[in-house]
Symmetry: C3
Subunit: 444 residues, 3 copies
């Protein structure tokens, strides 16, 4: 077991029981827990605020919800599993006949052992979620319903973020959500991968971009964040990634492009996926997914893509209690971190370089980048010390020729018929020699 | 027989005998006749005016032209058929030997019974058009020529137009010509289809565009209209259609795109023609056709396409007396009206919609366009009442995502993999809910 | 033998012996020689000047370099062949053991009879170039080295140019280099083709473009020229050609496109090469070639292509003494001139014509370009005198329709399905009639 494995495993176990929703103590406790490891600052948009087309809902606080059967048996108890109550249930205390109760019960006939996850944030209802196995055994009689919830109108929707500063103010935003109770792949996988990426990037010797890490409740939380940071993102966002369902048994990470095809990751991963079997590329769609649907709405059209491993339709635990630690698999989270970190490293050199000596060819000889004597024996040398059939020199010449601020490193690597990794080495040298720079402005 | 059939048939019979040319009493009488049914206003550009590269010719008035044979027999008489005289013949009165007469006679050896249609607007000549059958029987002798025509320099070239106003000032121009004498497909088909379209569109409950109906002599008449309305069209023309030869036995209507591919009909019918066997699509060409050659000249480059059914090369009556009511067929005119009207209806929703709530997804739930509860059983619903595997909802989401004023309804329907008709229903609902609007400005 | 052959042959023989380098008396004497035939004006950029990223080197003057063997035999003597000394050798006078001498000797084991061409302009070294045959026979002993060279810091890098004026200030630049000593294909072929092109174009009855002829030392000479004429070129350069290695036994001329694909020759020859087997087309590359690498650097990005016949890898004489008059072949130079002149003639009508009567169709009838009478018998005529199934008329109509300043003659010829030569005839007539003009501004 690696120390990363042990660390994430412990975090998972600690975070699982918090009774999360889009507001309230569960999500806030989860953020406080993560603040131990990353300097997240919390903001809160007050209930009742108008956020674009939405009204921020009141805070929902769950104390406990129980359903007791005719024989006094405890059928549902949120102290045992938070999924047992419909999220955002109104408070109810009373006795109901089974027939009256049925319309308030939710189960999954196809998955008789699973407790489903049900929400109704904007329409006041109440209900319990139980396994269909249990439901089928319920007998007629009087059932005691005790849903002890409270709506606070002086509350708000929270979000939390922090920044790892880089050389440029241009940001890469890494975001996930933190609003689902007691599920693994479709809840904790995202925040845990985000946390480990934070620890990894914190140790990089140099960062060209600044990296913002963001956690919020899905949809309404992103809209709240956008209502405060839309201008900042418009000016500074180079690209971003929404992380969702990044665990599970799928072998590949799937990247979904931004709506405007305006993220550096769009072309990068689209290319990568043609040879690297760890990646799958998908065009943007507004029909499903996560918070990229908000960032990529036509009014914002931000360069935000989405990354997922095992999604709806690919595992039986989607939105129910079968989505647990084992099926998510901590090792798959670490694999996601490895892939995403490697991709971020490439992104660091994926801007559009600009030749700083663009009038004629720079005199490479005086910089040790060209053979000093022109004689037949030197025609296979890149410089006085490198016998490589001019591969290195040719990458330099192609890079300098294309580096007009119009071509990305990906374009240049294609033209060079070299990997982006080989090109990255040349770019590092040309930057050191002062021959190229990356435009600080529009990196994308 | 439908009332439309009876109406058009009567109009045809009434209009056929007028001695039309590009100027003069025949075309003016034809316009006056049509004013009974549509509020055409007449304008006239004076003879001698410079209109772009052209000089407006004098008015040509034909009283009567006769050719009498050696035995006193009447060979040609425009009181019997207007085609008998070369259009724009100068006045001539005299006696000619057959040998002298021959160079002034026009016939069609390949179509021995047909009287050809011959014009010479800008070069002063005279002549008669006769069937080749008749011509072959002519015997040597003295022939009496009596061409009683007159040129009025205080006249002018007329055109006539009227508008059915819509919500927008943006216009769709529907135009045909009215200058050929005594022919059916290549003359009356266009004005009659235009007339019936007027009657149909007059009854629409709502028009997004304004519709202008225009009749003029071909080429010089369009140039005269353009000389007065070019600025108006530049500012207001959304798209236009030239109607020519819209009768005859061809099963398909052919649409010829505008030169600049800047008409909404260009893409619309190009797409339609891939599945709808009633339509054929053709790229723009300046080599043949009708008044679109003027509207699409590079100085104007207006979004004008052309619609035709049975054209030169597809029927033997082209520019001769075989082009009659039977071969044109009133039913084919009505079919043309049906097709064009249906296409205009689609065009009404073919602009580029703009999402009025573009920052994030609008909250569809509060508008009854989304299921109020998120539970497994609802994942196939478009809203609380519509079980359709989310087809309707997906069209809504795709439309809202693409509605940035950059994508046309045609683009959106393609992305939705739905027909433009299915999309039109969704667009109507989203407009009613205030979620999208069409840009008033540049609709194309 | 044509007079052109005799002329070029004599020039070749006269120019061969001058001890050329990138500076000094050899290149200057060569320019003076050519001034007999074309009015070249000479400019010189002083040694020590900063030219973009480069420093102009001091002038190198070679009086004589000899290597004498132990037995007094003359092994190398630049009076016999200029290639014998490393170009830009520092002065050396002394006695060396063979073992000491070896590192200063250059030969080609694979081509035992060839004397290689070696330079070291920016790194101070000395050396001799000899055939490997000779080298293998050298015996141990004392060798007398006498390299009598001098560096003048008050000198400079020369270039020479002249202009054949045309109707437009827009220029076509024809350039070659003049810095290699005693070689044929890779030195004199370029200047000699340039010279004959000058004589040919001087005789053209009319030139639309102005033509600038330029000779300079490779790389540093182009940079010097650019340092003085970059603004002029930016404003006036329509297109240009670097000539290099235009002799030799290859059957085809190869055209290499400009970096920005912004030269009229790029599309023209790319098209031509699909049917004309005398031409090969190649995309731009910064990896090899000649002075186009400077003109096409991203800071300038000028519309300069390169033309070559027999290049590195295609003949054994590349950069050695086997590159002689016989292998270059004067007849191949004349063939290059023929091809390039023919292409320049096409380029004269390859701009983007603008219809001078763009509002509607111009009235072609009054200009004799349309049949005066519209009758069936005339439908195959282009005008009253031309029976050609309307081919000529159709080219006119297509040209007038496309002539909006956005389409090149190449585009128009494609649309007409005619050759650029057929189109050129029509363009000449339309220009005479005042119906089209070429934009003086951005011809490319």
């Amino acid at each position: 077991m690696s120390s990363e494995y042990t660390f994430l495993s412990q975090c998972f176990d600690d975070l699982l029981p918090f009774p999360r929703s889009i507001t309230g103590s569960g999500i806030e406790a989860s953020i406080h827990y993560l603040q131990q490891f990353m300097p997240l600052s919390i903001e809160k948009v007050p209930s009742g605020s108008q956020v674009f087309d939405w009204t921020v809902p009141p805070e929902w606080h769950l104390k406990r919800a129980t359903l007791t059967g005719p024989a006094g048996e405890l059928i549902c108890d949120t102290n045992i599993n938070n999924l047992h109550v419909v999220n955002y249930s109104i408070p109810v205390k009373g006795i109901f006949e089974l027939s009256e109760l049925q319309e308030h019960l939710h189960s999954l006939p196809n998955l008789p052992k699973a407790i489903p996850y049900v929400t109704s944030y904007y329409n006041p209802v109440w209900g319990f979620c139980i396994s269909d196995e249990t439901r089928q055994k319920l007998k007629p009689g009087a059932y005691i319903v005790n849903i002890d919830t409270e709506f606070k109108t002086d509350g708000g929707v929270p979000f939390a973020h922090c920044v790892l500063a880089g050389e440029s103010n241009k940001e890469i935003l890494l975001s996930s959500y933190l609003c689902h109770p007691s599920m693994a792949n479709n809840e904790l996988s995202g925040p845990l991968v985000l946390l480990l990426l934070y620890k990894r990037l914190e140790m990089w010797p140099k960062r060209r971009f600044s990296y913002r890490f963001l956690l919020n409740p899905e949809t309404i939380g992103s809209l709240c964040f956008l209502s405060r940071y839309d201008q900042h993102l418009k000016q500074n966002l180079a690209a971003g990634l929404i992380l969702t369902c990044v665990g599970g048994n799928n072998n590949t990470l799937r990247y979904k492009s931004s709506r405007g095809n305006n993220s550096i990751f769009d072309e990068l991963i689209s290319n990568l996926s043609q040879t690297d079997t760890d990646w799958i590329h998908q065009e943007f769609t507004p029909l499903s997914g996560s918070d990229e649907r908000q960032y990529c709405s036509p009014g914002f059209n931000l360069p935000m893509g989405q990354i997922a491993r095992t999604v709806y339709g690919q595992y039986s635990g989607y939105h129910n209690s079968l989505d647990d630690k084992e099926s998510m698999d901590i090792n798959q989270l670490i694999k996601s971190v490895d892939q995403i970190e490697s991709m971020l490293k490439i992104a660091e050199v994926c801007g559009k370089p600009v030749n700083q000596s663009p009038f004629g060819e720079p005199q490479l000889g005086k910089r040790g980048l060209y053979p000093t004597m022109n004689k037949p024996g030197n025609w296979q040398l890149s410089n006085d010390n490198t016998i490589d059939n001019r591969k290195f020199l040719n990458i330099i010449l192609t890079t300098l020729s294309m580096a007009d601020g119009q071509h990305s490193s990906i374009d240049i690597a294609k033209k060079c018929h070299c990997s982006i990794h080989e090109l990255a080495d040349v770019i590092m040298i040309l930057e050191e020699k002062g021959l190229i720079k990356f435009n600080q402005e529009p990196l994308i």
